[in-house]
Amino acid sequence: MFILLMLGSLSLSAQGTVRGKVTDSNSEAIPGATVILKGTTTGTVTDVDGNFSIAVSGDNPVLVISSTGYEKQEITVGSQTSIAVQLNDSDALLSELVVTGYTVDTRKQTTSAVSTVKTRDLAAVPTGNVEQQLQGRVAGLTVITNGQPGTASLVRIRGFGSFGGNQPLYIVDGVPTQNINFLAPDDIENTTVMKDASSASIYGARAAGGVIVITTKRGSKKPQKLQVSYDALVGFTDPGKGQDMLNPEEMAQWTWQAIRNSTHPDSVPKFNHPQYGKGNNPVLPDFINVGGESGLSESQVDLQDALSKYNVNPDNGGIYQVVRANKAGTDWYGAITRTAPFTRHTLGFTGSSETARYYVGLSLQNQAGILKYNDFKRYTARLNTEFDLGKRVRIGENMQVTYRSVLGQQGDGDGANVSQDENDILFAFRMPTIIPIYDEKGGYAGTAAKGFNNPANPVARRDGSKDNSGYGAGGFGNLYGELDILENLTFRTSIGANFGQFYGYSFNRRTYENSENNAAFGYSEFAGSSFSWVFTNTFRYKKQFGIHSLDVLAGQEALKDGIFRNITGSGLNPFSQDPDYITLNTVGNRQVGSNNNTPWTYSSYFGRIHYSLSDKYYVTGVVRRDGSSRFGVNNRFGIFPGFSAAWRVSGEDFMRGVTWIDDLKVRGGWGQMGNDNLVSPVNQFSLFAASLDNSAYDIGGTNTSTAEGFYLSRVGNPNAKWEVSNTSNVGFEALLFGGKLDVIVDLWKKKTEDLLFPVPLSQVLGGFADPPSRNVASMENTGIDMQFVNKGKFGGNVGYEVTLIGSFLKNEITAVADNFDYFDVNPASNRLGSTMIRNQVGQTISAFFGYQVVGFFNSGNLVPDSIQAGAGLGRFKYADLNGRDDSGNLTGKPDGKIDDADRTFIGSPVPKFTGGVNLKVTVGRFDVETYLYTSLGNDIFNLSKWFTDFYSTFTGAAKGARVKNSWTPNNLDPEAPIFEEASNFSTSTQPNSWYVEDGSFLRMQNLTVGFNLPSRMLERVKLRRARIYAGTNNVFTITGYKGLDPAVGGAADTNFGIDVGNYPVTRSFMFGLGVTF
């Protein structure tokens, strides 16, 4: 009946047949484009050559021509019988290039979870490293970073698959690397993030943490005259404010309060402090240090006499300083920080002829950190060229040379672990406010003045590093050749390499101003070099057979990485401390050392088949076989397959009537990926080492030299094999309401099995040997990634675009080892009696472990010492949660006693949700863009409170303002426990839930107003493009976290979220200019 009606309608109003051809902006045919007669269900699809023919009818027939990746076009047929339609590239996400594996596809074709990032979204953010710009831009990509310029960051795609080595693999112009800190943001053309196995597993090993493919700019295929672009970004970062500290008067009063709090109620407090005197009320001194005397008033000091004895040079005899009290209080955070300038300039040259294409990029970035003498510089030169040698052969190269210098960086892991570092930022909150920065003659003031314990003057520490120097220089790139063997068969070969060299020296002041001083002036010098290479050969066959499209890739890859040697030298006490004088030749006590890293190799074969039918049904299969030198000869090779399929539902006839859906694709995939990132290159070997730290000994009794000793440094496991993660992914992508709304949703699950874990050895076998990785553990990550883009226009010239990105993550350890179910990790610095990080089955990675604080002891709930050691008024009251039976096993039941069995899980640093909102409004030539980032459901262990909130933790050192709200008999709902002298199990020595704070935050990362010069003006000054903009970064942060900044990174996947000295991300102001001529 329906068919009859259709036929009837056709026959009734037939006006004839229209033929046509659909091409893109390069006049290349677009196969598979949909051609519909507007207002009807009549339609057709273009053939391989872009041709179509359609019967038209009606009064004023209009054809609607659409193809994914292009702007929809309506053509009024009129009297035409032959129509040429050129479709413009659509701005929609679907048209984006997706650099999957060794190929380039469009989003339309992809069958797996991949995200692309537009470069222009990123360049306005003034970060040191490119990967920081990805924060909040890609659903499922977590970037935890800090405020140091040039810092490394924790970058994780879809959670934490393993106990380490979860960093993504970066592919820069086809060359794999673990580090992209050399890249200049303006050189980047395209960034693709491959999140699931069905796409990433073509990279097999090392892709388990996801793959980020970065392509740099190049000349276009179409001949184009030289274009020169210039982009500049200048601005400054404001250090913001430090933590609230007690002022000198408050500190003195609270010191007296601590003495009162520590005195037995039946006794009289014995007030006694070297500075504040012995009276019932503390007295602020006028001088805190005059030749070693403390707590002096103006009248007690003969200033002229004292100044005549002044000496701060240990070589000239005893130190004699004259230091006034700074009763107004010193802002130490302010003293070590600065308004930090930023500049970046990039010049780009692009052009192409019929047979050659090139891009030249020159970039300079100078960025100061908010901490004094923390500076970042990066100068890069990039040259990308490609030449056609005849019709079938192309050769090219992508090459970058980089000079990079990061000075004054704090924290290990190239700065990523600054939050666990007891650094100068922490010192700013340990240094009493009554101490001035300088003494009366301009020397440094410090805790050599008695009664302030041992913090070091952080300004002196910063100044001491001002002559330090160091840089890394290197080259990165590849040479490639492509040969079109047949029309549809291309062979590509590429040799990539990464070379790096570094050099530097640093000084360590001999100090006099502190209570604990460096005994000597130290100097050290270091240098080293690294090298890696990769060699890749692929064949690609791509052909369209009618409605069938086939894309086959087969390849081979070999690489060697980790070739690294370095040398260090150090010495003490040069004759002159002039940095121009000092070399290793002019210091005493010379020591030298060097390292030679064991490199690793991979040998791999891989293939991919991509098939599509009528541009509606897509199937992709990938497989890769990897061999790794990190495994013993029996388990070296692993085979990792992946499959995915997609169905473009909107391509079906029955969807044609659903006009609000422009495009709808449903897809699913499964794949396996191998991982050996965590595995040492020498995992298979039992090794002995000679080490000055671990095994040298003065057997001869010389007092000044050692004999070489050997020890078992590593236990080998020749049977370790690939760790395998199984990832499944289902998702859909939809383009709705005429391109106004773009939705991508993915549900995924990643199960890591045979997880490689260096199972701790029993110490009866020796506690110094590194245990080998064994395939014993497992982990599960599940999540949802979402992206919504909505754009539209109000009236003629107001447009907007909103992008919402969000991802939910659940991470759980499901097995640790055969015989036990947890392992503890100690952060880089920890003053508590035990660690607060336990990785245990059933918990997330790096979970916080300690006592659950249920409140503070008030007189009503005090318990004897035998129940909780050190119990006392105003101290922590812990929950009794567990006990041990006679055989030492946990019972899970309270046992009336608080001991180590009662420790429990008190938080997790893994965010449950991360997301971003990007809002852009265009008004004529103006645009306003803002971008917010949020991390929800993660906890932070605020270890800095150990220093600032207890009197007994380095008694006399600075304390924070929370002390004013500490426990007293009249303040039973305090922020901190009683301020007192004791340090025990119930006060400051144990990890507990009081340190754990909600680390959720929402930050407006960027707000930019831009203006694009109108074309009239451009023509007048002969410019193609000109844009000026101004922006603010880190405009505000909403968080309940009490530390400096909730962006708290860490050392590794099993060890993060601990904050003792975090370097905050603070507000900056930027002005930018971009022109092309």
Partner: protein
């Protein structure tokens, strides 16, 4: 021209590619040999085995763990009441529960000691395993015997540490596989194994060694006898001690004797002197401060300036109880009735007095060894200055008025024998003396009381006291006068078998005075069976003054042993490694 360049580039690329492809396709491409390390085959040569032996010795230093060395300043001295942790409440708070006997099984002080001591055991086992399988013809039987004997000496020493600290420890030796080792329960008596190792060393080590730091026959004998003594096998220990006292000599061949000056025993310049039976060797400016006396690096007065040694970190402050013990009667004998803490017998101190306030040091009779062992206000602190009292103490209210002295370097040795490469000069080359001849004499005295000639014990004790009684060795002021009122005498009344108790009391007290702060006290109290009484009395006496550090602390039966580290129980399984009672 351009075309030619391109072609050349293509050719070059293809050549390079082919080359790489060939090498990459070879199976051996994935065989990457380790760099900068050795395998066991290489080490089974004589030099290799000797290097492994050096590695086994090197664990004695604690390798950078403040609590892992064999000096036992926390485990032996602080727990025995010689000293408290000192410094302030917050620094190294991990040791606070140890001095208060509130130690939990996850305590880092306990964990560090376990880890390092078993590392020592493991290195000995590795060496013994390799020496048994060596096929290197240049390794002679004599080499094998000597190396084996030294390794077994060290293994005996490490197990002795384990057994007196935890008692119930798994015994792992070189014959076991890793799986077997982890399955060994901790319920067997380990002493017979220790005796076997030390007996082998005693019978096989040479008297004269090739290096001062190596244990010789006499060191092995002294340890064997000490191990007997710990088991109250006095009769077995006595002949060995007799032999050592009669014929014993240092590893470099010097006959054992007491140094003339008590203070010289602890002078870096006299390391490995004739009194040294066995010592941990330390060296400075070697490229790692772990080779210096890291275990004691925190134990210097706390002050800045050039008149104070090291200046950091104020730990290990001698107790009131110990200082009072040095009170003597008119005959120069100690107050064995315990009255030294009473009233005016207690030594006057500057607790609660600032350095700016006047203070007069104690004027009563004192054993001169006090001022070689303890730094106290007004008394010359080695060749530095007179101890100024509170200004050298980090938190006098918390740790008391005293500073340690035995392991503090002299100003004269500062530039050459301390390590200036880091934040304190507390890393020195001073050896940690594990056993010295005075210790041997006093142990022999115990044996004589229980299984020999009681009055010979008096002779041994008097030999130790006579050295201390030489007035020329007492601490002097600049004008040559004695720094305090030193009165010390000998036991002139013969000791009789009828009154062994008095003899025991005298010998035990002599050990306390002579060997204070040297890591022995706690273990002595435990083996004498008087730990609970003595330590509780100390806690009560010092706890009344140091209320924050020690107030309210008590010693219970469980505290005779440390808890076994919980983390290790979790690895072995609670059924294999059973926790000590009471934890």
């Amino acid at each position: 021209m351009k075309n030619l360049t391109n072609k050349l580039m293509v050719v070059a690329s293809i050549a390079l590619a082919a080359n790489l492809l060939l090498s990459a396709c070879k199976e051996s491409f994935l065989d990457v040999e380790p760099t900068g390390a050795l395998t066991d085959q290489v080490l089974s040569s004589r030099k290799g085995l000797d290097g492994l032996l050096v590695g086994a010795y090197s664990v004695l230093t604690g390798r950078g763990d403040w609590y892992g060395g064999v000096g036992n300043w926390v485990h032996g001295s602080i727990r025995g009441g010689d000293a408290n942790k000192g410094t302030d409440a917050g620094d190294q708070a991990v040791a606070n529960p140890v001095q208060r006997f509130e130690t939990l099984p996850n305590n880092g002080v306990v964990g560090g000691k376990w880890r390092l001591t078993y590392e020592g055991v493991a290195r000995c086992n590795t060496l013994l395993r390799l020496i048994g399988s060596t096929t290197d013809p240049t390794v002679t039987d004599a080499d094998k015997t000597r190396i084996t004997a030294e390794a077994r000496f060290l293994r005996g020493l490490y197990y002795f540490e384990l057994v007196r600290i935890w008692k119930n420890v798994p015994y792992v030796d070189e014959t076991m596989t890793a799986e077997e080792a982890v399955a060994v329960p901790n319920n067997a008596d380990v002493y017979p194994k220790i005796e076997a190792d030390l007996d082998y060393a005693w019978n096989n080590l040479p008297e004269l060694q090739t290096a001062a730091g190596r244990a010789n026959k006499w060191a092995a004998g002294a340890y064997l006898a000490k191990v007997y003594l710990y088991q109250n096998k006095h009769a077995a220990a006595k002949p060995i001690f007799d032999d050592i006292i009669l014929r014993g000599s240092t590893s470099t061949g010097e006959k054992y004797d007491l140094m003339d000056n008590y203070s010289d025993v602890f002078n870096i310049s006299f390391d490995n002197n004739k009194e040294t039976v066995f010592a941990v060797q330390h060296a400075v400016n070697t490229g790692s401060t772990n080779n210096a006396s890291h275990e004691f690096v925190l134990n210097f007065p706390y002050a800045s300036g050039s008149d104070v040694p090291a200046g950091c970190c104020g730990f290990f402050q001698p107790s009131f109880e110990l200082v009072n013990s040095f009170r003597t009667d008119a005959n120069g004998l100690p107050l064995l009735d315990g009255s030294y803490n009473n009233g005016t017998n207690a030594v006057a101190n500057d607790y609660g007095v600032t350095s700016a306030q006047p203070f007069t040091p104690d004027a009563g009779p004192l054993d001169p060894r006090l001022d070689h062992s303890v730094g106290r206000r007004g008394i010359p602190y080695l060749d530095w200055i007179d101890h100024p009292g509170a200004s050298w103490i980090r938190d006098q209210n918390y740790g008391g008025p005293y500073s340690p002295k035995k392991y503090v370097f002299r100003r004269a040795t500062q530039d050459n024998l301390t390590d200036g490469s880091s934040w304190t000069r507390g890393w020195t080359s001073q050896n940690t003396i594990l056993m010295r001849f005075a210790d041997v004499l006093l142990m022999a005295a115990e044996c004589e009381i229980e299984a020999g000639d009681v009055d010979l014990a008096r002779t041994y004790v008097n030999r130790v006291r006579a050295r201390a009684a030489n007035p020329s060795t007492w601490v002097k002021r600049g004008d040559g006068s004695n720094a305090a009122n030193y009165v010390i005498g000998l036991y002139n009344t013969p000791w009789t078998a009828a009154d062994k108790d008095a003899a025991r009391a005298a010998v035990r007290f002599e050990r306390k005075l002579e060997l204070s702060g040297e890591g022995h006290r706690f273990f002595d109290l435990v083996r004498w069976g008087i730990a609970s009484t003595v330590i509780n009395a100390y806690l009560q006496f010092d706890g009344a003054k140091l209320t924050t550090a020690l107030g309210g602390a008590t010693f219970a039966a469980k505290d005779l042993l440390y808890p076994i580290p919980q983390g290790q129980i979790d690895i072995h399984g609670a059924d294999v490694l059973k926790q000590n009672d009471g934890y």
